[in-house]
């Protein structure tokens, strides 16, 4: 069963900047899909089109059978509430506590004036416990390290009870060891909770370790789609250019 179907998706930022060129892609439920590609290849644009943080120029996207591109503002909010997003710069509200940041994941169930319920707070604490940060609930986010902040972001994503997680280079600002631990949390969510993950990455080693499928973008077009092990030296050079050398991180 497919969770996302992308059909001839195009994005122009302006006449000269054609970020996505006729992208066709089907993402199946339960996949851990890795997006590879150079900076500027269209990975972030593609991810952001899926929940319409960026408006696509043309083409179709369906999420669990619902049309994303033409969705009304109300429908769009309900679609977004099922799709959690994780960012390279964590994008937490630094002046708020860890707990409040996690709770913002359930905003779609609230009106402007309603308050967090007791159950939501308990769920938030439980989600923090899952990422090993239960002792940090009442700290300000600014005092946390990068790896801790990204784990808070994962807890916020869990709060949405998402069917799909979009991760935009979630480990690009982290050191290798922390990067692996953050990817490990995403892998656990994928396997244990059955949440589909679409994650853009720069490191092939992490793609091999966690990905069930790899899609490579080059200049806004899909260049490769297959299992991580199918990417050999020739494929790698095709994606990243002739001069590229694979850098291992362990």
């Amino acid at each position: 069963m497919s969770i996302i179907e992308i059909n001839k998706l195009n994005k122009f930022y302006d006449e000269a900047t054609h970020a996505l060129k006729d992208v066709d892609l089907t993402i199946k439920e339960g996949e851990f899909l890795i997006l590879l590609g150079l900076s500027g290849s269209g990975k972030s644009t593609l991810l952001r089109c899926l929940n319409r943080l960026i408006e696509p120029t043309s083409g179709g996207i369906t999420f669990l059978g619902k049309d994303v591109v033409t969705a009304s503002p109300t429908d769009l909010k309900s679609i977004r509430s099922d799709i959690a997003m994780i960012f390279q710069q964590f994008n937490l509200v630094k002046n708020l506590t860890v707990l409040t940041n996690v709770l913002t994941g359930s905003l779609s169930k609230h009106t402007f004036f309603s308050r967090w319920t007791k159950e939501e707070k308990e769920t938030a604490l439980k989600n923090l416990k899952r990422v090993g940060l239960q002792d940090y609930a009442y700290r300000k986010v600014r005092n946390l390290s990068g790896g801790q902040q990204q784990r808070v972001a994962i807890a916020r994503a869990l709060m949405q009870k998402p069917k799909l997680i979009l991760a935009d280079e979630p480990v690009a600002s982290l050191d290798p060891a922390t990067a692996d631990s953050v990817m490990n949390y995403l892998g656990t969510l994928n396997r244990e909770d059955g949440i589909t993950v679409v994650c853009s990455l720069h490191f092939l080693s992490l793609a091999r370790k966690y990905g069930t499928r790899v899609v490579a973008l080059k200049d806004g077009k899909i260049k490769f789609s297959g299992t991580p092990n199918e990417i050999d030296d020739a494929k790698f050079k095709e994606i990243y250019g002739e001069d590229a050398e694979e850098v291992e991180i362990r």
Partner: protein, 336 residues
């Protein structure tokens, strides 16, 4: 080639404009001096004609200020190589002479007219102690006046600042219009001095602290809208994106992603504004805004210099304390 020619004609245009402006300026300043010393009035057309004549002479001289903009060093004719230096020196000298006369600068008065101020200076240094407590109460009234103006201005400015922040409003045509209208009105209000607003409101609601408060309030709203909205424009867009992606509404995004980022700078600006308002409240009092400013105005009208002394020292003390306290609080707020 065609492009070169175009640049060339543009250069010639600038050269001539500069030389002609300089000729006109020299002509009019000399005419001003002639009028001043001979106490007659020259026909403006004569000045215009003579200036044009000067310009026509300059055309035949190399290295005038205009020509020096584009000439190479090598091509300068030696004898005239300093011409533009002479002309610039003449311009500076003429300007200083004309300015001196226009501003009626008089060093003799400055050094001999001190006697008249003796009473004032003596008054300032022997303040009238009998009115001390009454003036303290007027000063407190002024501080409250400034505080009320700030308190009423803050919520209005707060709401308006969101509508005046381009990063929140540039998404739709309606948004851009609202943004432009609010920014324009607030610029106009700010450019009118608080003292003018005080005169308007003194007529409107009568002389007294209420008029002063209204004057400071309207000025504070305009100033705070600018400061607040610029702060909103400088926020980190990341959290906005993240909260939007959870399916939150626009108002929820403002509440959870925008406001937490701006609350401390907003408080800092507000305290700074109160500090400014205390200083402005004194001036506003002069024209009917009440409080200690009005007392200062009355004492000065009655040439009661000892009374003026009491008031001036009290104001200085209040401003000094406000200044220090507000600087300290702002530092604390903005450091985390």
């Amino acid at each position: 080639m065609a492009k070169n020619k175009k640049v060339h004609s543009k250069q010639r245009f600038i050269t001539n404009i500069l030389d002609y402006s300089i000729s006109l300026y020299i002509g009019t300043t000399i005419a001003f001096l002639y009028n001043y010393w001979s106490e007659t009035t020259i026909n403006p057309w004569l000045v215009f004609g003579l200036s044009t004549l000067l310009y026509l002479i300059l055309i035949f001289i190399p290295n005038t200020p205009g020509k020096s903009l584009y000439t190479e060093k090598e091509s300068r004719i030696k004898f005239f190589s300093q011409v533009y230096h002479y002309i610039y020196s003449a311009l500076i000298a003429l300007t200083i002479v004309v300015g001196w006369i226009m501003v009626e600068i008089s060093p003799v008065e400055f050094f001999t007219g001190m006697d008249g101020t003796r009473n004032i200076v003596r008054g300032l240094f022997t303040p009238d102690k009998t009115i001390f407590w009454r003036m303290v109460s007027e000063l407190i009234k002024t501080i409250y006046l400034a505080l009320m103006a700030t308190i009423f201005a803050v919520p209005i400015a707060f709401l308006l600042s969101f509508l005046a922040a381009s990063n929140l409003m540039n998404k739709t045509w309606l948004g851009r219009t609202v943004y432009a209208v609010i920014r324009t009105i607030s610029t106009i209000i700010r450019s009118i001095e608080a003292i003018v607003w005080a005169i308007i409101f003194a007529v409107w609601v009568g002389i007294g602290p209420f008029a002063g408060m209204l004057a400071l309030m309207i000025h504070s709203i305009a100033a705070l809208v600018k400061l607040y909205s610029e702060q909103i424009e400088n926020i980190d867009q990341g959290p906005v994106e993240a909260i939007t992606s959870t399916g939150a509404s626009t108002l929820q995004v403002w509440r959870y992603a925008v406001i937490p980022q701006i609350i401390n700078p907003f408080l800092a600006f507000t305290i700074y504004r109160w500090d400014i308002n205390v200083r402005m409240a004194t001036i506003v009092g002069f024209v009917g805004g009440g409080g200690i400013g009005l007392q200062l105005f009355q004492k000065q009208q009655m040439t009661d210099w000892n009374g003026v002394g009491t008031i001036v020292w009290l104001i200085a003390l209040a401003v000094w304390i406000m200044d220090m306290v507000s600087a300290e609080i702002r530092k604390k707020l903005l450091s985390n």
